[in-house]
């Protein structure tokens, strides 16, 4: 039999977009507008004043793109993705024309290994000096070869103070207890669920042995009747609307709803948790790499970074931007949890496609049980 590869398909003029439509996955209701044809620069070295930015929703400052245009004349066309998998799937069959994308830590490794990312030219990003040195040499991208940190975030428990006794500072309340039955919502990310369960069992989030995975599966099956729902990263809404009292969510998401409802709070459990970091990368085959470097450099600027943090309320790895932020942000224990807890948190490493598939099947079994 002959071997059809997806790259081969792409040469034949079929991209992921038509595949998505065929599989119905595009019916999720997200619009995708910036899939314009690759436009080659008119002359080598001179790029047209445009940039295609592929970003998460609600993940940029109110005026950032306009400010960038005022500063450089480059017009940014931003389109949105909802999950790393969507980003990966879209770039898997070849870059449809994006210049800057925002993958999370684990996917930086994955996309780097798959040859989907361009090596960054640090000389073109002088604002690299603004980054907190603690973020400069992460395991997922040693030496920051492919990525610049944009935000970081940590998973924890968002809860309603009036309905919960004390502070639910252990994963036990989510994974291994019926104390809040029917009032718990978990993030529907298979790998995160298994990794955090491993953390609860006292293991690292990485290199989880098969016996422990089996034990975690049993624990989650036992816990399932007490869980109200698996949510698609809208846990903050379920918490705010009173559907649940405890929710597995990211700190930034809970910080956003806490502004409106003082009865809500967030804690990173004492066992430690998963840290994620969203990063700025240039995908392979980006039509305008010079503009892309300029844009990344601009986002790492102190004032521009502060403008972004003001809107999105996620922790920033940008020391210059943090210094410009008000105390309410800098000293917010939800956005910046205590250091002794953060010391117990880890990045989830990319451990191969097999592992991702295995974790997915474990959670499918849990949900079917």
């Amino acid at each position: 039999m002959s071997t059809i590869t997806q790259r081969g398909l792409q040469r034949a003029g079929l991209n992921r977009r038509s595949m998505l439509t065929a599989t119905g996955a595009a019916a999720i209701g997200l619009t995708f507008t910036a899939c314009g044809p690759k436009s080659a620069p008119a002359q080598p070295g001179v790029e047209e004043a445009k940039l295609n930015f592929y970003n998460w929703d609600t993940y940029i400052g109110d005026t950032t793109l306009a400010d960038f245009k005022a500063a450089t004349g480059v017009e940014v066309n931003m389109s949105l993705f909802a999950t790393n998998d969507e980003l990966f799937a879209k770039l898997k069959a070849g870059n449809p024309g994006f210049d800057v994308v925002v993958p999370s830590n684990e996917f930086v490794t994955r996309m780097g290994q798959a040859g989907m990312l361009e090596v960054l030219d640090h000389a073109k990003i002088p604002n690299i000096k603004n980054i907190d040195p603690a973020f400069m040499n992460p395991d997922y991208d040693p030496g920051r070869k492919f990525s610049m940190p944009y935000t970081w975030l940590v998973l924890g428990i968002g809860y309603r103070k009036s309905k919960v006794k004390g502070v639910p500072d252990s994963w036990k309340y989510l994974f291994d207890s019926d104390q809040y039955k029917g009032k718990i919502a978990l993030l529907s990310e298979s790998a995160d669920l298994i990794r955090l369960s491993a953390k609860y069992k006292g293991h690292s989030v990485n290199n989880i042995p098969p016996e422990l995975v089996a034990e975690i599966e049993k624990m989650l099956i036992k816990q399932k009747p007490f869980i109200k729902a698996f949510h698609d990263d809208n846990g903050q809404d379920m918490l705010a609307s009173g559907d649940v009292d405890l929710v597995l969510e990211y700190n930034g998401d809970i910080a956003q709803v806490m502004k409106e409802d003082p009865d809500l709070d967030f804690v990173v459990p004492k066992e430690g948790s998963l840290i994620n970091s969203d990063t700025l990368c240039i995908p392979k085959g980006a039509p305008r790499p010079d503009n892309a470097h300029k844009f990344i450099n601009y986002l790492l600027d102190g004032a521009a970074g502060a403008e972004i943090s003001k809107t999105i309320l996620y922790p920033t790895p940008n020391a210059a931007a943090k210094a410009l932020m008000p105390d309410a942000y800098r000293n917010n224990p939800v956005i910046f949890p205590p250091l002794e807890i953060m010391a117990k948190c880890e990045y989830g490493a990319f451990e191969g496609a097999e592992k991702a598939s295995l974790y997915e099947e474990v959670i499918t079994r849990v949900r079917a049980a």
């Binding site: 039999m1 002959s2 071997t3 059809i4 590869t5 997806q6 790259r7 398909l9 079929l14 038509s18 595949m19 439509t21 065929a22 599989t23 119905g24 996955a25 019916a27 999720i28 209701g29 999950t83 998998d85 969507e86 990966f88 799937a89 898997k92 069959a93 994955r110 290994q113 798959a114 989907m116 029917g182 990310e189 298979s190 790998a191 399932k224 869980i227 109200k228 729902a229 698996f230 698609d232 609307s241 009173g242 559907d243 496609a353 991702a356 598939s357 997915e360 099947e361 499918t364 079994r365 949900r367 079917a368 049980a369």
Partner: protein
């Protein structure tokens, strides 16, 4: 008389060409690619090697996934049954309405299609959630009742406990029935509307009651309409993805959700393709059953 297509080849080709081109390029070719994927395996992170392996299908018919198929078929069957029970009287009422009312009633049936499915589903969430409109309404009635009771000197009835309407299988079936009801009503209506009304009069004149006329005359005559209504409700309900995802609880996953996760989170397109094609084969079986049923129906006359 009828003109043979041979006499107007150009017109025929002109009329058939664009839709055929559309169908081949945007339906058959992508489908063939997905079909080919189902006989392959991941080769590294981005490539899929087509090796002719049946491994994906072997995995897809493991008990775990078969159980999910059965559950999906069960949910779709309940949805279809409810749609039939609710949709039949509605279609019957539209059939016997005056010409002017008919237009308006049909418009009402089609009206929900003007709004995106996602938005309608989110609206259902707002209605069903713990602090949603249903619970708010019931709480208001409860408190009102308590107040009246207190005035009459009865024991206080205690606090209102909100009903759990969202994030369970009930919500999934409710959402599916809500979404698919028009698919059932429209073919039923078109079958009932063509019905010869004199047959009903004859049945009633000859002594059969209304109920008996309904089941002995109307239902048998409308059988082809019922069969096509059942089919076009069952098939999309079987592949439902958004509704169980947004309204369902921890055990409400249906097969389409599992397929979606293979293409996205698990990054296992070959296995996802195998699951999709199994679902498609099930659909073909359903269509074949319908074809047999509708062929039988005229014979029964």
């Amino acid at each position: 008389m009828e003109q043979s297509w041979k006499q107007a080849k150009a017109v025929f080709a002109g009329a058939l060409g664009p839709p055929l081109f559309w169908l081949v390029l945007f339906f058959l070719v992508p489908l063939a690619i997905v079909w080919a994927y189902s006989f392959g395996h991941n080769n590294g992170l981005v490539d899929i090697a087509i090796t002719g392996t049946f491994k994906n299908y072997a995995r897809a018919i493991e008990p775990l996934y078969l159980k999910i198929f059965v559950k999906s078929a069960w949910v779709a069957a309940i949805t279809t049954g409810l749609c039939l029970v609710i949709g039949f009287p509605v279609a019957l009422a539209i059939t016997f309405a005056s010409e002017k009312a008919k237009t308006w009633l049909l418009l009402l049936i089609m009206l929900p299609f003007w709004t995106n499915l996602l938005i309608r589903t989110y609206a259902l969430i707002a209605v069903l959630r713990t602090e949603g409109y249903v619970n708010m309404g019931l709480e208001w009635i409860w408190k009102g009742g308590g107040l009246v009771g207190a005035l009459l000197g009865l024991q206080p009835i205690g606090d209102y406990r909100p009903l759990e309407l969202l994030h369970n299988n009930f919500a999934v079936v409710l959402g599916l029935v809500y979404v698919h009801l028009p698919f059932m009503v429209l073919p039923l209506y078109s079958a009932l509307d063509r019905l010869d009304k004199s047959l009903l009069e004859a049945s009633l004149d000859l002594g059969a009651g209304h109920i008996r006329t309904l089941f002995k005359v109307v239902v048998p005559l409308a059988l082809p309409g019922i069969a096509s209504g059942v089919l076009i409700t069952f098939i999309p309900a079987l592949g439902a993805y958004l509704t169980p995802d947004l309204l369902g609880g921890p055990d409400s996953q249906m097969i389409a959700n599992v397929i979606e996760r293979q293409f996205k989170r698990a990054n296992d397109w070959p296995f996802g393709a195998a699951l999709s094609f199994l679902l498609m084969y099930l659909t073909f079986i359903a269509i074949a059953v319908q074809a047999v049923l509708s062929r039988k129906a005229p014979e029964a006359k």
